[in-house]
């Protein structure tokens, strides 16, 4: 890769994002390194989804610079942009499955667009991906409106992973899943990270995921990253919010 510091796949500098008169992200800096799983936490409404959507170019920014794979998305031409989009997969907070397509077609959709594969291989890979995220092949012909919340999340994960991307952005991938399925999803993400060198940007409130799969955790509050580092750093922190989040009652119960 041409970029001198190819270690950093997502680089956010001095980012300001707001709506109308409110500022949601205020001069925020963030680096995500190649091959790491970054857990992203913050209170509800603190702007986690807004940051994710700004990085992938869905929301306009007021100030700052965002580079993904060393490409400045604002100044990239259509071809560069498509090359980047081909290499990331996104799981939206509410799934964002295509409601007019079946589960199978949803997963095959990006493959049909970007790859020229035989029908048989498309079929097999789509089913394999669905099974890898813990779904049964029976759901293939269902429509998104016929799925439960947790199933929707899993189909969305399968679709995000359809092209074996290098980065996946996951917005609360395990919310709405039972703890066993959540654990399976975490296991899959960890496996893919180990074997494919996947970089994961994961917004989550699941303390189990944060403990077991995340290499690093970044905390968003008041429009800035107030702390970033491995779990041990979070646990040692004396910041009141971090203390309440990681060492509060719930955290203690779920850890014991």
């Amino acid at each position: 890769m041409a970029h001198p510091e190819s270690d950093v796949v997502i680089r956010v500098r001095d980012l300001v994002v707001g709506f109308g008169r409110t500022t949601v992200l205020n001069h925020l800096d963030l680096d995500v390194k190649r091959g790491e799983i970054l857990g992203f936490v913050g209170g509800s409404g603190s702007g986690k989804s807004v940051l994710l959507r700004t990085i992938i170019g869905l929301l306009p920014k007021r100030e700052g610079k965002i580079e993904v794979f060393g490409v400045d998305l604002e100044n990239a031409n259509a071809k560069e942009l498509q090359a980047v989009e081909r290499r990331w997969g996104i799981l939206f907070q509410h799934g964002a499955l295509f409601s007019s397509l079946t589960v199978r077609q949803n997963v095959q959709f990006p493959m049909r667009e970007y790859l020229d594969l035989s029908e048989r291989l498309l079929e097999e890979v789509a089913v394999a991906k669905l099974e890898m995220v813990g779904l049964h092949a029976d759901v293939c012909e269902k429509y998104p409106s016929e799925l439960s919340g947790g199933m929707t999340k899993r189909v969305a994960l399968a679709r995000a992973l359809a092209l074996d991307p290098e980065i996946v952005f996951l917005d609360e991938p395990t919310s709405g899943l039972d703890p066993i399925s959540a654990g399976e999803s975490d296991h899959l993400i960890k496996t893919l990270q180990r074997t494919l060198g996947l970089t994961v940007f994961m917004v989550t409130h699941d303390l189990d995921s944060l403990h077991t799969v995340c290499d690093r955790i970044a905390v968003l509050a008041e429009g800035k990253i107030i702390a970033a580092g491995p779990m041990s750093v979070m646990l040692a922190s004396e910041h009141p919010w971090l203390k309440a989040y990681f060492r509060g009652e719930i955290a203690r119960i779920s850890r014991n």
Partner: protein, 383 residues
């Protein structure tokens, strides 16, 4: 920008060593090469039948992802079906876990891709469509009944009349529709007058244009045009709104809170449209008469005085009433169809679109059918 590992062509070379077949894999077994890789894998699975053991040497593979891992698993399975046992050797340890992930994939029979076809398929389609047509009328009747019940409940004091909601919908359906209704009916009035003058002039019957405009506009054109516009403008909006609310479970939420969706969502909309259409019809008819009079004056030389005098002779209050009586009934049909179709929306965006189209087409069709029935009725009572 290309993936840095996307450069090496995948390879799969087979060599027979006595009793044993050696498949040497190399290159990138990744998504970008899946297309070239698949034929190689299928080719390798067809080997001389005598061979019982196969070694797949993955040592030279520089990159593997789920596509490559699945193709490797597929190769192993096809070899197993042929009765030979495949061993995978030399696979870097880091890829073991990936292979395990795909090991259990596609083991069950995936449900076949459904695909109709042939004569049976066509007949099936015809049958289903006919059944749907029947159901569609039942749905409208059902909505009619539900709205009627709700109306009775509200006026006997068991339900509550949502006045704010009615006013809000009146604003959207009536007030905001006034400019476009005036414009279009005015233009149609002009066109009718011009056409009439052009053809009547040949046998010196210019003045009868006034009769034609008056009767046509007041009895038929005014109300029909307004209904078609309201169906396209407000009926479609009703269907789309209610359909989206249904899709997002908002209707279910209302119901669980003890609200009757018919009373809260549908009744105010229908009352609004039933009030709006007669008002718009009146305005539309006046605009069309104005347009007709204007053209008759400028193009036909019939001065406004003569036009009005002639109009007074040609038409009676009956003509005006015929148009106005039809308006609320047609409005009721548009409202009922739009709301019924909205509640028929299923989970997908496509069904929302389909239902909105159906709503407009069906309500315009029914309005015209009703107009025909009214024509027969008024002819029978001699009006």
């Amino acid at each position: 920008m290309y993936p840095e590992w996307g450069l090496n062509e995948p390879l799969l070379q087979s060599t027979v060593e006595g009793e044993r077949l050696r498949l040497a894999a190399a290159g990138s077994w990744t998504v970008d090469h899946a297309r070239e890789l698949e034929p190689l894998v299928d080719e390798a699975a067809r080997h001389p039948p005598a061979i019982r053991t196969v070694d797949i040497d993955m040592g030279q593979v520089d990159k593997l992802d789920t596509f490559g891992a699945w193709l490797l698993e597929r190769l192993r399975r096809s070899l197993a079906v042929e009765g030979s046992e495949a061993r995978i050797v030399g696979l870097p340890d880091s890829y073991r876990a990936l292979l395990e992930e795909v090991q259990n994939a596609n083991s069950g029979r995936a449900p076949p891709n459904p695909g109709g076809g042939g004569l049976a398929g066509a007949l099936d389609l015809v049958g289903r469509t006919m059944a749907e047509v029947g159901d569609a009328f039942l749905v409208i009747l059902e909505m009619f009944g539900a709205v009627g019940m709700s109306f009775v409940r509200v006026f006997t004091g068991f339900g509550r009349m949502r006045v704010t909601s009615v006013v809000h919908h009146l604003d959207r359906v009536c007030w905001r529709a006034v400019p476009i209704v005036l414009l279009i009916t005015f233009l149609i009035g002009c066109i009718i007058a011009q056409q009439g003058l052009f053809h009547f002039r040949r046998f010196g019957a210019d003045i009868f244009v006034v009769d034609m405009i008056g009767i046509l506009v007041l009895r038929e054109v005014g109300v029909l045009l307004v209904c078609i516009m309201v169906a396209g403008r407000s009926g479609s909006a009703y269907t789309a709104e209610l359909g989206t609310m249904k899709m997002r479970e908002e209707v279910d939420a209302l119901r669980t809170m003890g609200f009757d969706p018919i009373e809260v969502l549908i009744l105010p909309r229908i009352i609004a449209i039933v009030i709006a259409v007669p008002m718009l019809t009146f305005l539309g008819a006046m605009a069309a008469l104005y347009g007709g009079g204007l053209v008759a004056w400028l193009y036909g030389g019939i001065s406004p005085d003569i036009f009005i005098a002639r109009l007074r002779e040609a038409i009676s209050v009956d003509h005006f009433l015929v148009g106005m009586i039809k308006a609320p009934f047609m409005a009721l049909i548009i409202g009922i169809v739009a709301c019924a179709e909205g509640f028929q929306v299923k989970g997908s965006a496509e069904s929302l679109g389909a239902q909105t189209t159906t709503s407009v087409v069906k309500s315009i069709f029914l309005v015209i059918v009703l107009d025909g029935l009214f024509a027969m009725f008024f002819a029978a009572i001699g009006k």
